[in-house]
Amino acid sequence: MQADETLLRLEAVKKRFGGLVVLNNIDIAVGANELIGLIGPNGAGKSTLFNVITAIYAPTEGRVSFRGKDITGIAPHRISRLGIARTFQLVRTFLTMTAFENVMVGAVYGAGGRVKHATEAATAALELVGLSARRDMRTAHMTLSDRRMLEIARAVASDPALLLLDEPMAGLNPTEIQRMVDVIRRVRADRGISMLWVEHKVDAIMKVCSRVIVLDHGEKIADGTPRDVTQNRKVIEAYLGEPAA
């Protein structure tokens, strides 16, 4: 896979709810094996952007394409099968299932047939996030941090080319955050999966990501290296304009 190959491309994406424009004219390109941070104040439209990419919402205008193929508005499960996996801000695991069964869903259905040996893939994914010991534990009994790990394992098991992480650190303590950073690094290093990472904790993004995109009030106001972004005037205004986070 070449480094400059574009996986995901958003062109002039706009999303409106009633009279409220939540995303306006967003252009984003994600290349192979990139780790991109997506930040912005509350209400900037980050989660909506994820929901547009994964077709939970159809964009009001604009186009989403993946590997050159138009995927705007196709069913969410087909997007997953094409190779875009995601996690959720409010963690969404299958609570009555065991950890292993959760991951199997990704390996069987999310992979859309790409994974030949689902059981092995699921085992490996649990191993990667360090949950092997909790393999047969019911998700309902797991800690938040473990459930966040489990979501990532489930996504990894579906053998995606692109992983959308929606605030994977929300609600975690510092030790758990460090564990999460390690896992994210490892996923990228071992699997070469591109990631688009929405995060409230800007410092973590700045440390780990090679590129950062900033949204504010539905507009993309910056897109560059962490250093470029921190010096961007609009970004500083956007963050200063918000009560101290």
Binding site: T54, A75, P76, H77, S80, A85, R92, T96, Y109, G110
Partner: protein, 322 residues
């Protein structure tokens, strides 16, 4: 199921299967009691598939039960299947597996036709309301179906061959066992994984590659199929298929009740629920014939107040769902 309980299950089923050979058994009351338990257990499994495992509360089971029953009766009365053989072999439809399966298929087909629009548009309570409306519409259509459905009177099937309950008992038992085994196999398969995923979290399921509509419609259709076959079996017992008897709301409410009392989303819950609830209803009917529904109503309320998770989960905290 662990090995010893598997053996226990086999022994119990074998004992039940041999019961009709016991002298006097066929004429004993518990024989027809067990037949009804089997029938209701099948209906409860049907509801459990779509609502317990699938998480979609359907209030339309009676419509599918009735469709299966009517299919059987119409094939019978209209001479549609094996037509030329019918005159010389009037019993040809009696427990004919093709007729019974067709009953299931017609119900399943209706479930797909109504399930596609309903399930793609409606969630949760709205789906429940939609299925309730669907049931009422089906009933009115059959009442107005003219000669084809026998109108409001319905269809009387020839009953001359019916002189023992034995075949009903065996077919009922077989259906109950087959349904339980089929659902057990299903829930251990990849489809079962998808069904539970959709029940637990529909959005996460679709974000993980599950075609949620397909899974839900399939569960709805599977549930309808089981109900349709049960309706077909009932036709061989009642012989008169009319809108008031086979589209009776009881065919939805009682199985629902039995499943919840036994334990939704468990394999044996529906069977246990059917046994216990039918026993309570029947005892009340025998002991206090003048006001037994009062007792039944009280039992349901008490069961829900004190055992809201159902017998299976209340007595075995560890009981697995899938």
């Amino acid at each position: 199921m662990s090995r010893p309980s598997q053996w226990i299950a086999i022994v119990v089923v074998a004992a039940l299967a041999l019961l009709p050979f016991l002298p006097g058994a066929v004429d004993a009351y518990y024989f027809s009691f067990l037949f009804f338990v089997f029938l209701y257990a099948v209906m409860a499994q049907s509801w459990n598939l779509v609502a317990g495992y699938g998480g979609q509360i359907s209030l339309g089971s009676h419509a599918f039960f009735g469709l299966g029953a009517y299919t059987t009766a119409i094939l019978w009365s209209g001479n549609y299947l094996w037509g030329s053989l019918y005159d010389s072999h009037p019993n040809i439809y009696y427990f004919d597996p093709v007729t019974m399966l067709l009953g299931g298929f017609v119900a399943a087909l209706a479930a797909v036709l109504i399930g596609l629009p309903l399930l793609s548009k409606l969630h949760g309570d709205y789906f429940a309301l939609g299925t309730l409306g669907f049931g009422e519409i089906v009933k009115v259509i059959f009442v107005n179906g003219g000669d084809f459905t026998g109108g409001a009177f319905g269809i009387v099937a020839p009953a001359s061959s019916f002189d023992t309950l034995r075949p009903h008992y065996w077919v009922g038992l077989g259906l109950m066992v087959a349904t339980a085994l089929a659902i057990r196999a299903l829930m251990r398969s990849r489809y079962g994984l998808a069904l539970i995923a959709v029940r637990d979290d529909e959005m996460a399921a679709s974000a993980n590659g599950i075609d949620t509509l397909k899974v839900k419609v399939a569960a709805f259709a599977g549930s309808a199929f089981i109900a349709g076959v049960a309706g077909s079996l009932y036709t061989f017992y009642i012989f008169h298929v009319g809108p008031d008897s086979v589209f009776d709301l009881d065919w939805m409410l009682l199985p629902l009740m039995m499943t919840v009392v036994g334990g939704t989303g468990t394999l044996l819950g529906p069977i246990l629920g059917a046994l216990v609830m039918y026993a309570v209803f029947d005892l009340a009917r025998i002991v206090v014939p003048d006001y037994h529904p009062v007792i039944s109503g009280l039992t349901i309320i008490l069961a829900m107040l004190f055992l809201p998770k159902g017998l299976m989960r209340s007595f075995v905290g560890k009981a697995r769902t899938a």
